[in-house]
Symmetry: D2
Subunit: 248 residues, 4 copies
């Protein structure tokens, strides 16, 4: 049996990519596409089981209140969720105990896995550094993902009582050794021809482990969305991030 | 307080590397070195808490019987353990319930982690392939580690109901697509200047995840040995492989 | 002063990418776009100096005969040029001694450079192997570029009197060591999430050199086209491939 | 016929590695080993054709004066040659017009090639950055080789009229974007388990070219020394660096 899926924000590029992915998968069926001028009741009328919402912070809370009230599960990639918003969603879900909502800042499975693996491996190595590589139009350095990866690594090492990576540098040309995020060095490369890439390098005596993630396409989030669509019906309540769905 | 460590097989290159590592670590102390003509009682006399055994299949069982009878923990890198030998060790340990023995085929932390991560990630990607790269004096292709990694990947995908990696190849120059290990393609590079390296490549729409392990030194096993030395006292009974000690 | 450029085959995806690139560059100006129903005289009327032709083997010869007769330079990416066709173009150019024509099978600068560098480096290393990695919809393995790269490497080594790469493999799972192209091993990876990538690995005692080319976008040929547009006016006669324009 | 080779500084680690390499090669023969207490006349007595000198700045000039006066070719890896010293060597060679001397700061063939290729490719790409990765005991960041590579890249781009790599960074955590060497960004990674590695990344629309050099062994200079030994007899006068011997 297939899962009956609806798409909210179906007119945008992201929404279209979601619709394409839902259509292409063998176990999901696209039953409703709703854009900003369409009625949310379309989902009820079409018997939608799971709605994917890539819309806007201004409208996502109204969307969720409606969907939860109708017992329709939701997979949400819209941004702008702070603790207050998450608490509101939890309170709505308390009144609809069989409904599941997934809110995730990052649906790229490879990104989530590489962050997780970096965190797990961090305490076993003397040294850890992060290199992130992006297209030259990016405004911030390091990337948000690299910053967060480094912070998670630093936390894992601190929890395990592992000290700073050794570094005998005494003469440094300003900036050569990268940025320092909680004691973890992060290097940001900006290069034409790249999209979004990250390497975590871990080293100890005689061996190194490298975890590299390459994302070259705006559609790299769709496998993660489908993962959420498949899992959310059997996971009532609020889930933040796709990692809990991955049983790692 | 430091852990009092003894080394069995102290005359060999591997034994010496272990002795060096034990001496260099802040929390371990080298209290006894025993080679083939020395008495095992040296360990008792010196108050050894953990013995590291890199000796020979011909003598390792006698070593273990003695150490277990004296309540001395053991970390064993000697090869040749089949199920029958493991059962024998377990029966000895049953009579010494506070003693711990670790027997591991591979102490390289990076190798163990990369195999584990590959196995965890395998079911989330459409495609997986393995490339291993070694010095040109290696006799077997693929390497044992690559073969085992591919088999674990294949098993993880089968358990999750994931099909074969897609492949539209219709015209192939013989061997181009590598060896087939349970449906996972494995490529073996042999190159002067390399030592022992492995990449697991996982790909899905628009993104790839690469897990690479480089081992360039025969001493890359010592951090794993120290990990075993630190953990084994609080882990009575038999432990096979260092992974259970890593709390992944 | 800018170069006045016309595009032939302006209706296709490739033609549009060329038009975009010509418009975007500071030193080129798009003065004519001609598709299959338009008259070639448009180029003369608009004062076009260089025409870029990405059309079809059926029409490209007529295009070239006209352009050469009018003294308009041409940069050609259309396929299907054999020796007979090249000779015909040369004979037309003999009557128009100031006109230049560039016909190139590959405009990706990175691909051309990596092939050249592999060829230059090949004789200095004991070992050379090639890994090419592509999306899983590719029908042939190895890729044409990898095959040609390996053949050029083999030729360079033969010319320098360098023997085969050392290889002690005695036990091989069928295909593990890749395909054999004139004695050079070539490995073909097919992975979802990839586009077109190639690594040439060269190794000698204690060191390796890796030349890697990644192409992730169909527009990666446009910088090579602009290179041709800028150079062809000062290079009368026929030029085959962009390498001669690069002064390596 | 083999080349009769002598080694100066035969007692040191480097000297021994040279002796081993000369012995192992099919076309060279080790006929004399001279250390600090031995007479230089040993080379004359043994019929040495080429001497390899890895000694000390304090003695190398005396060594060279003697060797040149005897018409013995020299391959020199000893450091400390400034312009004045090179001029002195040239003046001695003027009196012995058939003798050849090679003085090279770096004998690693892969390092020389990667620097050369980076320089050749630099002007064809919008963006270039350098990442160097070394063991954590290194005192300077970036490495001398990375600094020199970046400077050569900057010069090649300047000569070709190519501007700075594009970079839209407006928010930077201090150091994230690396050091600036003549407008080329250089990133220095320090990691346990590494030896000496360098990547030059070049990118333009939709494609990147990466030139990576890995050196994992102190003996990686010996193939370059043998290259010098084979070439120097047919190259009278002073040659600086091995690149001129490589016919690139």
């Amino acid at each position: 049996m297939t899962i009956r899926v609806g798409v909210l924000g179906s007119g945008g590029k992201v929404g279209q990519a979601v619709s394409d992915a839902v259509r292409a998968a063998a176990d999901t069926e696209l039953v409703a596409e709703v854009d900003k001028d369409d009625a949310l009741s379309t989902f009820v009328d079409s018997g939608t089981e799971v709605v994917v919402d890539f819309t806007h912070p201004d409208v996502v809370m109204d969307n969720l209140q409606y969907l939860i009230s109708q017992g329709i599960h939701a997979v949400v990639g819209t941004t702008g969720f702070d603790d207050a918003r998450l608490d509101t969603v939890r309170s709505w879900l308390a009144d609809s105990p069989e409904t599941g909502v997934l809110i995730a800042p990052n649906f790229a499975i490879g990104a989530v896995l590489s962050m997780k693996f970096a965190q797990q491996a961090a305490r076993f190595f003397d040294s850890v550094e992060v290199i992130e590589l992006h297209h030259p139009n990016k405004a911030d350095a390091p990337s948000g993902t690299a910053y967060r990866t480094a912070a998670l690594i630093a936390e894992a090492r601190k929890d395990a009582g592992v000290g700073r990576s050794p570094d005998a540098t005494t003469t440094e040309l300003d900036g050569a050794r990268g940025a320092d995020v909680d004691g973890v060095r992060v290097h940001s490369v900006r290069l034409a021809g790249l999209v979004a890439h990250q390497e975590v390098l871990l080293g100890t005596q005689g061996e190194t482990l490298t975890i590299r993630h390459d994302s070259i396409d705006r559609t790299s989030f769709t496998p993660g969305v489908l993962l959420g669509v498949r899992a959310i019906a059997s996971r009532p309540g609020l889930t933040v991030g796709i990692e809990p769905l991955m049983d790692l």
